[in-house]
């Protein structure tokens, strides 16, 4: 079992995440849902106050749909655990963090030192995303 990575203060959810279809069909009980790349994250928006974990699958690191799914959920006000799972590699983590992911379940181990360097490398970003970063244009003009 590869070590999961968390940027949250609370414990990662251990509840098994059910599919989006199953969640929408019986939302009363479940609090953890898994989105595949082809799922529309917007379908979850009416239920966000009942969700404590959304796991977004990355079957291939090249498939960037999960980045949009994450941002959409954060933009809708979701504050629970947002996990990227699967082919999650260290070089994509900084973008994933900016899109709102706060836990990671990679298939292969991630070198903690490389990760730390990657996350600290860029002090500034051009555009506003789902993280706390103040975009450059705001630093310029206040």
């Amino acid at each position: 079992m590869v070590e999961a990575i968390s940027f949250r203060n609370d414990a990662a959810s251990a509840e098994p995440a059910i599919t989006l279809d199953a969640f929408v069909a019986e939302q009363a009980n479940a609090t953890a849902v898994r989105l595949e790349p082809g799922d529309d994250a917007r379908a979850l928006i009416p239920y966000l106050d009942r969700v404590s974990l959304v796991e977004v699958g990355f079957p291939s690191f090249r498939d960037g749909r999960g980045y949009s799914a994450a941002r959409i959920l954060r933009e809708a006000g979701y504050a629970g655990e947002l996990r990227a799972a699967g082919d999650v590699l260290v070089d994509q983590l900084p973008f994933m963090r900016r899109c709102g992911f706060d836990t990671f379940a990679p298939d292969a181990p991630i070198d903690a030192e490389v990760l730390s360097r990657s996350l600290d490398r860029y002090d500034v970003h051009y555009q506003r995303a789902a993280d706390e970063t103040v975009p450059v244009w705001k630093l310029r003009h206040g």
Partner: protein, 543 residues
């Protein structure tokens, strides 16, 4: 032109550090080639037919003498003494070593340059009109808007793993000098009731299935631009095909669901995104626009040109274009000498052009998508001396938009995707039509050659287009007629069976001979073709 502040510089410097780390990890075997490939592509580094190829970004084709000189320095120090200007206004080096790339990027960063996102499934270089800031017909300089888009798209965390590459072009005139309608998103700045805004076209492209982008948004102001583009990209990221890389561009999506449905989805997304406050304030566009202020033109600069020297006069007529400021002119430097390699420039030529820009053009140059160079603001009084210097350096071919001003991709001589060589074909055609008198008689004739169906030579948009194919291991060339990348945009039609390398040169000569016999008053080749159709030409070609 745009000058970095501490933030721009910090971002580029961090990128150098990041890539240095990624290269180190690759060389040490900590990441596989499969994992490394998207990372190096997002930094413009290809593994090509003979070596690594590095594509340096030249944002909207604009650079200064200092930057040009750095490009020459890199050619000498790390490559084999030359560079290749591309159809997206960038520069390519063909003989790069992976182990040198971090140092090359560090060198580039010292002059505000980089190779960020010049490849990969992300937003690429924003291209623009090579006459921006100098042309009388623009409603405004399009480049500040291009710069806004460049910053928004650089290291965009949501859009760095798109289904496929994504290309923008921004123009600001009705005349389209940047093939805007053949881009994933094409933008034309327009004025409505005195307010500057943008018309947005989505879903154009060349490649295997060329398409002309339909208008998706009639008018968007700078205040809404970023949110609107974000919405456009988000819909593409969501629905663009990922099962088949040949059907993954946004043009396929817009074509499949229709422009109306795509527009509706974008508006739906835009309504949400607009609430997020991602649009920079007006002050940011104003800050950028101030850097594109007009140069301090000389008042009462002499507006006449002494045409005494006949060779100079020919060059003026062909390569020098009217400038909006009296006493000034726009100069086109041809990188298409007959028999030369289209778009290539030696390090010495690059240095010379840097010097000439500093001396004669307020230290500014442009790269055109036709693979030539522009000095945008030259005093008419300086034209003759400038021409003499260019002529001595083999840079004064008076062939702008003539048949020897060929756009050619690198083709099988350099590119691992190619099926046929394109450069020798270009050389043979140019040599066949070497006579400048003959070329001028034929008039405007945009000939474009691609060495494979990926169409990097824009052959679909050529008045005459050539597509190189592999026919049982032998190079074969298909001929197309009637394409145009300008505002009268159209896609070329194939004439019939293909030809050998020598055969295609003969076929083109039969086409031009037929044109000359059929043309009416002032018709360009393209006009005659549109009037009479394919049949007369097909007859001439195949007998």
């Amino acid at each position: 032109m745009y000058k970095y502040d501490q933030y721009d510089q910090a971002i580029v410097d961090a990128r150098v550090d990041e890539f240095r780390d990624q290269v180190k990890r690759r060389l040490a075997g900590e990441i596989t080639e499969d994992q490394f490939k998207p990372l190096r592509l997002m930094n413009g580094l290809y593994l090509q037919l003979h070596a690594y190829m590095l594509r340096v970004a030249i944002p909207y084709g604009t650079l200064d003498g200092r930057q040009m000189r750095m490009l020459g320095h890199i050619a000498r120090t790390y490559d084999r003494g030359y560079g290749h200007f591309t159809t997206r206004q960038n520069l390519q080096y063909n003989w790069i070593k992976l182990e040198d790339t971090p140092d090359i990027l560090a060198d580039l960063a010292t002059v505000e340059m980089h190779a960020i996102q010049t490849s990969g499934n992300c937003i690429r270089n924003i291209s623009s009109d090579q006459y921006a800031g100098a042309a009388a017909d623009e409603v405004a300089d399009p480049r500040p808007w291009a710069e806004l888009i460049r910053q928004w798209s650089t290291f965009h965390p949501e859009f760095s793993y798109l289904p496929r590459k994504f290309k923008f072009a921004v123009i600001a005139s009705d005349e389209d000098r940047a093939a805007m309608r053949l881009h994933d998103i094409g933008i034309q700045l327009v004025k409505r009731d005195g307010v500057l805004g943008a018309k947005i076209f989505v879903g154009g492209g060349m490649g295997r299935t060329p398409m002309i982008g339909p208008e998706i948004k009639e008018f968007v102001t700078a205040d809404d631009l970023m949110s609107y583009l974000e919405a456009c990209l988000r819909v593409y990221n969501r629905y663009g095909r990922r099962d088949n890389m040949y059907k993954a561009r946004i043009k396929i999506l817009v074509h499949e669901i229709g422009a109306d449905d795509y527009r509706r989805q974008v508006e739906e997304e835009f309504a949400q995104v607009k609430l997020l406050g991602i649009d920079p304030p007006a002050a940011e566009l104003a800050r950028i626009t101030a850097m594109f202020a007009e140069p301090s033109y000389e008042i009462d600069a002499v507006d006449d040109i002494d045409r005494g020297d006949p060779d100079f006069a020919v060059w003026v007529d062909q390569n020098v274009v009217a400038h909006k400021q009296p006493g000034y002119a726009i100069v086109n430097i041809s990188l298409k000498p007959v028999g030369g390699i289209p778009g290539d420039a030696s390090a010495d030529q690059i240095d010379l052009m840097a010097d000439l820009a500093e001396k004669y053009s307020f230290d500014e140059l442009r790269v055109t998508h036709a693979q030539n160079i522009v000095l945008p603001h030259v005093r008419k009084a300086d034209l003759y001396t400038l021409w003499q210097t260019l002529d001595n350096a083999g840079l004064a071919s008076a062939n702008l938009d003539l048949i020897s001003d060929i756009i050619a991709c690198p083709g099988l001589d350099y590119c691992s995707l190619a099926n046929a060589r394109s450069i020798p074909v270009a050389q043979k055609i140019a040599t066949r039509f070497a006579s400048l008198d003959r070329q001028r008689d034929l008039g405007e004739l945009k000939l474009k050659i691609s060495g494979c169906i990926n169409a990097c030579g824009h052959h679909h948009a050529g008045h005459i287009g050539i597509l190189g194919v592999d026919r049982k291991g032998v190079e074969n060339y298909q001929l197309l007629l009637g394409g145009s990348g300008a505002e009268d945009v159209s896609l070329g039609k194939i004439t019939g069976p293909g030809f050998s390398e020598d055969g295609i040169v003969d076929a083109i000569e039969r086409v031009t001979d037929r044109y000359v016999s059929l043309r009416e008053d002032g018709e360009r080749f393209l006009d005659t073709y549109r009037r009479v159709g394919m049949e007369p030409f097909k007859e001439a070609i195949y007998g």
